[in-house]
């Protein structure tokens, strides 16, 4: 009856610090109302990055998951945090992107010197740190209720970021986002209630040992996955995402699109491979993949028709998330010894990481273009290349990854998914990946074509953009590209600490 116990491992305390450090920073900013909120944030940001790297190093060194049992209370009564290869990777990714976005945002969200506290900086930095803690908890949590609290933490950090500038349509977008997120949470919680009623535990390892197919398990997992789908904006539950991500300030959009929507997907992945009785349900896997296909094709086409750059990028996010959901049938049909040794699984994770880097870069680039030109209407982008050349270049490089063209992380990811799909004869998926690539190329080149065009007569740059901000954007885009050169070997890291299938 009792699942295999957790034991606090060496370096386990790092996990606690990863979750608590941003909270300490958030509380400090909130309470002290210091002259400059960003100063505290810039102490926490490198600290958090260091912790994430230390955790990854510990996982790599020991070749096993790093674990911490809170208060010494053994799950399922207590709560454990655990970092395996995948969660360590995602934590490092999160830390990198947040640090980049922090650098980028320093200019826009600094407290004016004549004020003791201004609304936008105070809110932006506290929420950003809250969001970090939430993401780390999602990646580390092993208990489904603890993960519910983490998801709520994420929602409460993300929703106000959307309406930071207080315009009517952003408030509207935030409200819609909140309602979708709340429906998602309730469905998740309903599933958790059913699982508790059936097994008396919400600990993932415990559930993995006990769970078997019965009505309660199927309904519970179904409800939880549907709830998480609403939070991850999978078609047809994506309607909230484009206005929300397009309405937020560029720095917030980057984090929302790159990281926040990945958290619920990560949980679906965990429910599917770490909790659900194996082998998973073939029909459900096909359904998820079909919704992914619809996301890719449908939202890419809508992205192509957008007038405003940020809305286009937001639709592209929905499309790119679609790729992630192709993983389920691909992994199930593969004959690899375990799920995470299959090429489909690695391709999916790589898609997640490369999209995060590319999309963060794209949103930030769009923000700089809008700052320089004073608008973000795609048809009037002429001359952007003279105003912010580095940002346009970054947009193009990030675009490579979205299209899946070599050399880029997106290329390797999509190639892996494509290989897995051909091997398992999932021809619809093959078609979707190819069509999605062509559509992505069209919308990226549409923007680039405009941005590269000669400026109209009387063209004026509205604002001067400091070089370091453009370099941050370029750095993110380059990392998305460099991911394509990483040899396949380190991907074994993603499998560290994952339990073999029974």
């Amino acid at each position: 009856m009792m699942p295999a116990g957790y034991a606090t491992s060496e370096g386990g305390a790092l996990l606690v610090i990863a979750v608590m450090l941003p909270i300490v920073g958030m509380i400090a900013i909130f309470a002290l109302g210091l002259r400059r909120a960003e100063r505290i944030a810039f102490i926490i940001l490198p600290g958090g990055l260091f912790i994430a790297l230390a955790i990854a190093a510990e996982v790599a060194r020991t070749g096993a998951a790093v674990t911490y049992v809170l208060g010494g209370w053994q799950p399922p009564l207590g709560i454990a945090l655990q970092a395996d290869g995948l969660s360590a990777t995602l934590m490092v990714l999160t830390a990198l992107i947040l640090c980049a976005v922090g650098l980028f945002a320093r200019g826009t969200f600094s407290t004016p010197p004549d004020m003791s506290e201004a609304r936008r900086p105070m809110v932006f930095w506290t929420l950003m740190l809250g969001l970090w803690s939430a993401l780390n908890t999602v990646f580390l949590g092993q208990d489904l209720f603890n993960l519910f609290v983490a998801l709520e933490l994420l929602t409460f950090s993300a929703v106000p970021l959307v309406c930071l500038d207080g315009r009517r349509e952003t408030v509207q977008a935030a409200l819609r986002y909140l309602l979708f997120a709340l429906i998602g949470s309730v469905f998740y919680l309903l599933g958790a209630a059913l699982l508790y009623g059936a097994y008396g535990t919400l600990d993932m390892a415990g559930l993995r040992l006990q769970a078997h197919y019965n009505p309660a398990t199927s309904v519970a997992l179904g409800l939880m996955i549907v709830g998480l789908m609403a939070k991850a904006a999978l078609f047809p539950l994506h309607l909230w995402l484009p206005p929300a991500h397009a309405g937020a300030p560029a720095a917030a959009s980057a984090v929302l699109s790159a990281l926040v929507v990945k958290a619920p997907f990560f949980l679906i992945l965990r429910l599917w491979f770490d909790v659900a009785p194996q082998p998973g349900n073939q029909l459900a896997a096909q359904m998820l993949a079909w919704l992914g296909i619809f996301s890719i094709v449908f939202c890419s086409i809508i992205a192509l028709r957008q007038v405003r750059l940020k809305l286009m990028i937001a639709y592209s996010t929905v499309a790119q998330i679609g790729y992630l959901f192709l993983v389920f049938p691909l992994v199930m049909a593969s004959d690899a010894p375990s799920a995470w040794q299959s090429i489909g699984w690695t391709g999916g994770v790589l898609q997640l990481v490369s999209h995060a880097l590319a999309k963060a870069s794209m949103f930030l680039a769009a923000g700089l273009i809008a700052e320089a030109l004073g608008h973000d209407r795609i048809d009037n982008l002429n001359g952007a290349v003279t105003a912010v050349p580095i940002s346009v270049a970054a947009f193009g490089l990030a675009g490579l990854s979205l299209m899946g063209l070599p050399p880029s992380g997106g290329f390797v990811a999509k190639l892996m998914l494509l290989t897995a799909a051909t091997e398992t004869a999932n021809w619809w998926i093959v078609a979707a990946i190819l069509v999605g690539g062509i559509l992505a190329a069209s919308y990226v080149f549409r923007v680039l074509g405009r941005a590269m065009a000669a400026p109209k007569i009387g063209f004026k740059t509205l604002a001067h953009i400091p070089l370091y901000r453009e370099l941050v954007v370029l750095g993110l885009a380059i990392s998305a590209v460099v991911l394509g050169f990483v040899p396949l070997q380190p991907f074994a890291f993603l499998g560290i600490g994952r339990v073999g299938l029974p």
Binding site: V16, M20, I27, T201
Partner: protein, 310 residues
């Protein structure tokens, strides 16, 4: 036969819930919701969950009800709210909801044997801590991380509400809570009740260590007293830039965090308590949390700042 009162209660709850959703006027809907909340606290007593019953009555019915009533008062009146949607739409939705309800019902009528429970584990470890109320032990020891993070959720919710402050009012005070018509009776209540209410709030927190009650219930009662005073126009809501206010908001989370980190030195790690001091530590943390909850709930009801700082 013994099920008769339960069946009647459930019937009442469901009727009130249907009314809440179906009624045209939104104020009626809010009142319906408050009724559901109060009936639900009875249901929680029947489910042997007195702690939850207190929380549901205080927060589910009380605080949420106040919040919604205030929203009603501030929203511009609309002639009728329930615009009948397209028949296809409500038939489809109705069908979907019925399927989900039927699925849940089918699962609850087939309980697993023996019942899945963590009660024996919870009981086995209680002795170490010296507390009598198992729910408090779960909240502040076994699953203290959830409780800590949930306090952070409350702080973030407050920041989220404050985000909606118009730029020129940042740092100022929320809109006054006073009723349109000043009332002598309300003012009298706001003078007589708070001393009693504060005693009850403190009692609930103190008593929560060993008996039903605890931080949330006590904190909500404290918040209710504060809101009453504000509604009777005896006090204005404080300016959101005030240091005292900010410090009160974070007092609970900070004390909790300090207790958590202290565990690295005085016990076996984060959020673990040395057995000899477990009870005093938990009671101190609870007291700090209750104070913060009271302030946060009050400010959440008061809403974003609506006046420029003085």
């Amino acid at each position: 036969m013994t099920l008769l009162p339960d069946l009647a209660l459930v019937l009442l709850i469901l009727t009130a819930a249907v009314w809440t959703v179906a009624v045209r006027d939104r104020r009626d809907a809010v009142i319906g919701f408050i009724v559901v909340g109060l009936l639900l606290s009875l249901a929680w007593v029947r489910l042997n969950a007195v702690d939850v019953a207190l929380t549901e009555a205080a927060i589910g019915g009380g605080a949420t009800g106040l919040l919604l009533l205030r929203a009603c008062a501030r929203l511009v009146p609309r002639p009728a709210e329930s615009v009948l949607p397209h028949p296809a739409m409500w038939i489809l939705t109705g069908l979907l909801c019925s399927v989900i309800a039927a699925g849940l019902a089918a699962i609850v009528v087939m309980p697993v044997e023996p019942p899945a429970t963590l009660a024996p584990e919870a009981a086995a470890n209680m002795g170490e801590l010296g507390l009598g109320n198992p729910v408090t032990v779960v909240l502040l020891a076994y699953r203290a991380l959830d409780t800590l993070l949930e306090k952070v959720v409350l702080v973030l919710a407050l920041i989220g509400v404050w985000t909606l402050t118009p730029e020129q009012f940042w740092g100022g005070a929320p809109a006054s809570l006073r009723a349109q018509q000043s009332s002598g009776a309300l003012r009298l209540l706001a003078q007589v009740l708070p001393p009693v209410g504060v005693v009850i709030g403190v009692y609930l927190v103190w008593n929560g260590a060993d008996h039903p009650g605890g931080t949330f219930q006590g904190g909500t009662v404290l918040a209710a007293m504060w809101l009453l005073v504000m509604m009777a126009d005896l006090r204005e809501p404080p300016e959101i830039r005030l240091h005292t206010l900010r410090l009160l908001v974070i007092l609970g989370p900070v004390v909790f965090l300090v207790a958590g980190f202290a565990g690295f030195w005085i016990a076996n790690g984060f959020l673990s308590y040395p057995p000899a001091f477990a009870k005093p530590i938990i009671v101190i943390v609870e007291a700090a949390l209750a104070l913060s909850i009271a302030v946060i709930l009050g400010m959440l009801v008061a809403g974003p700042a609506a006046r420029a700082p003085r």
